[in-house]
């Protein structure tokens, strides 16, 4: 096992290192996932596996072979310190779709950290992450995209939006691009905002009480991350998220 990370390790700078120290020797090795050439696979993590002492970690190392598609949906909310690590290596003409929501309250620290390696030409990736953070919680998305010299015509997109319900909450969004090819599209956008007060009053003027109005807006906000999921997955994940959103609003 490698040494416990410190704040100087970029990939761990926003982590809850105190809680991490307790379980560091039990850190699971990444689960290896391979999507065979031309095939499609969908996975969901709606509950991060608990390692112990308030810490939950999910760790995937995914290989998407040529022409294959991997669709992944994530919900980070069920731990004092929760982290989802996803490393993906894309083959020629493959696609990686990621939708994730981070819902934090109290003094939770929740992270989604992705490393997306476009190793071959003509692959596409799309990552959509939405965070709703209240109290003194911290929500972090770090997304590194690496485009190899040979990976021409890569199209890699990232959209990261965070909603702070209290001024004491923290959102970290860090897209990172490392591009060695010259014919690529790498769109990335990150915003941090608060609930639209005008919209809340508009909804109230039509009869919605403040809690309900807030909840509807938060639901619509995180729904961006799950439009790429099938109806069943979307319903399951969103109903789990809804329980937490109700507590937040």
């Amino acid at each position: 096992m490698s040494a416990l990370p410190t704040k100087r390790d970029e990939a761990w700078r926003y982590a809850d290192l105190k809680l991490l120290a307790d379980i560091w020797q039990d850190m699971p090795a990444p689960e290896q996932v391979t999507v065979k050439a031309g095939e499609s696979m969908a996975r969901q993590i709606s509950e991060i596996p608990t390692i112990g002492n308030g810490v939950a970690i999910a760790n995937l190392d995914v290989i998407i072979e040529d022409g294959a598609t991997f669709t992944l949906h994530l919900l980070a909310m069920n731990a004092q310190y929760g982290r989802i690590n996803i490393k993906t290596t894309l083959g020629k003409g493959s696609h990686f779709e990621l939708g994730g929501a981070i819902l934090g309250s109290g003094d939770q620290t929740l992270e989604i950290v992705t490393e997306t390696i476009h190793a071959k030409p003509d692959a596409t990736s799309n990552q959509v992450v939405r965070s709703v953070l209240g109290g003194k919680s911290t929500g972090t998305f770090m997304g590194k995209v690496h485009v190899a010299r040979d990976a021409q015509r890569t199209d890699a997109a990232q959209s990261v939006k965070s909603m702070l319900l209290d001024r004491s909450a923290t959102a970290n969004s860090k897209p990172e691009l490392e591009i060695f090819a010259d014919d690529v599209l790498c769109a990335h956008g990150a915003t941090v905002g608060e609930l639209d007060k005008e919209a809340l009053f508009y909804m109230a003027s039509r009869g919605l009480d403040p809690e309900k109005a807030k909840r509807l807006m938060l639901q619509a906000f995180i729904d961006d991350a799950f439009v790429s999921a099938g109806d069943n997955v979307r319903d399951t994940i969103e109903s789990k998220a809804l329980a937490v959103l109700e507590a937040l609003s």
């Binding site: 009053f201 508009y202 909804m203 109230a204 003027s205 039509r206 009869g207 509807l216 807006m217 639901q219």
Partner: protein
């Protein structure tokens, strides 16, 4: 139905309404006209309970279902809606990700719940929405889209009237609902206001700059609002006089 007595209100640190009094009875349509900055929109927002519109003095009471009067200023915005007040916005707000239908059904059913009425089922609601959209000649497909997102200025105003039709309020306060409408849309909106609101148990407060809406929706009373107060009240003919001579000459 609505009584306003000596109402004073601030927006931020600035006093905008400076002792406004107005009575609106069931079956009446009132128009409020006045120069820019007189406080017309502030009156609408203050009656709607918008945050940051602070009442510093005066009273406003609104009739309840038993015929008694409740203190409107004590009520939260959603409670005012449930009591039967509809606010038509000058600039309707866009809400991405929430469809018009969901927005209105949740709103209407929340109001019904407060009033002790049963919630409308999905089918009942769609039937009602179809009927009102048809009345305002709005494509039902637009109601499936997110609230006001990508709507033109005129479509947003028409959508306000569809919402009013679905919610079926006792009192509609319409803030420049006619601005931004072309001639045909103005006629549709005017007809909509008449068919939805011109009833013995309902009332309308129309805030407008232009006579053209008042040609379609004939007011029983026209008030001139200037510098935070109503300075003149008359019948429908007052609007024509204002149109011809301007506020300064008529209200001075």
């Amino acid at each position: 139905m609505l009584t306003i007595n000596n109402l004073r209100a601030n927006v931020g640190d600035t006093e905008i309404l400076k002792g406004l009094s107005l009575n609106i009875n069931a079956g009446e349509i009132h128009a409020i006209m006045g120069p820019n900055g007189a406080g017309k929109s502030t009156l609408a927002y203050t009656l709607g309970g918008r945050p940051n519109y602070e009442v510093t003095d005066g009273e406003a009471h609104f009739v309840n279902k038993d015929g008694d009067y409740d203190n409107l200023l004590d009520m939260d915005p959603h409670e005012r809606a449930a009591a039967g007040i509809f606010l038509g916005f000058q600039y309707p707000v866009e809400i991405p990700g929430i469809s018009n239908l969901q927005f209105l059904r949740e709103g209407l059913n929340a109001q019904r719940k407060v009033r002790g009425e049963d919630a409308l089922s999905g089918a009942e609601f769609i039937k009602l929405a179809k009927e009102k959209a048809g009345l305002l000649k709005m494509d039902m497909e637009m109601l499936k889209r997110a609230v006001n997102v990508g709507f033109s200025g005129g479509e947003k105003k028409r959508n306000e009237m569809v919402q009013m039709g679905i919610i079926d309020p006792k009192l509609a306060i319409l803030d420049e609902t006619d601005s931004g409408l072309d001639i045909d849309a103005l006629r549709i909106v005017g007809d909509g206001i008449n068919s939805i609101m011109r009833k013995p148990d309902k009332a309308v407060l129309l805030i407008t700059h232009y006579q053209r809406l008042l040609d379609l929706v004939k007011p029983d009373f026209v008030h001139v609002l200037a510098n935070g107060k109503i300075v003149k009240t008359g019948g429908a003919e007052l609007a024509l006089e204002l149109e011809e001579h301007g506020y300064e000459a008529v209200a001075a």
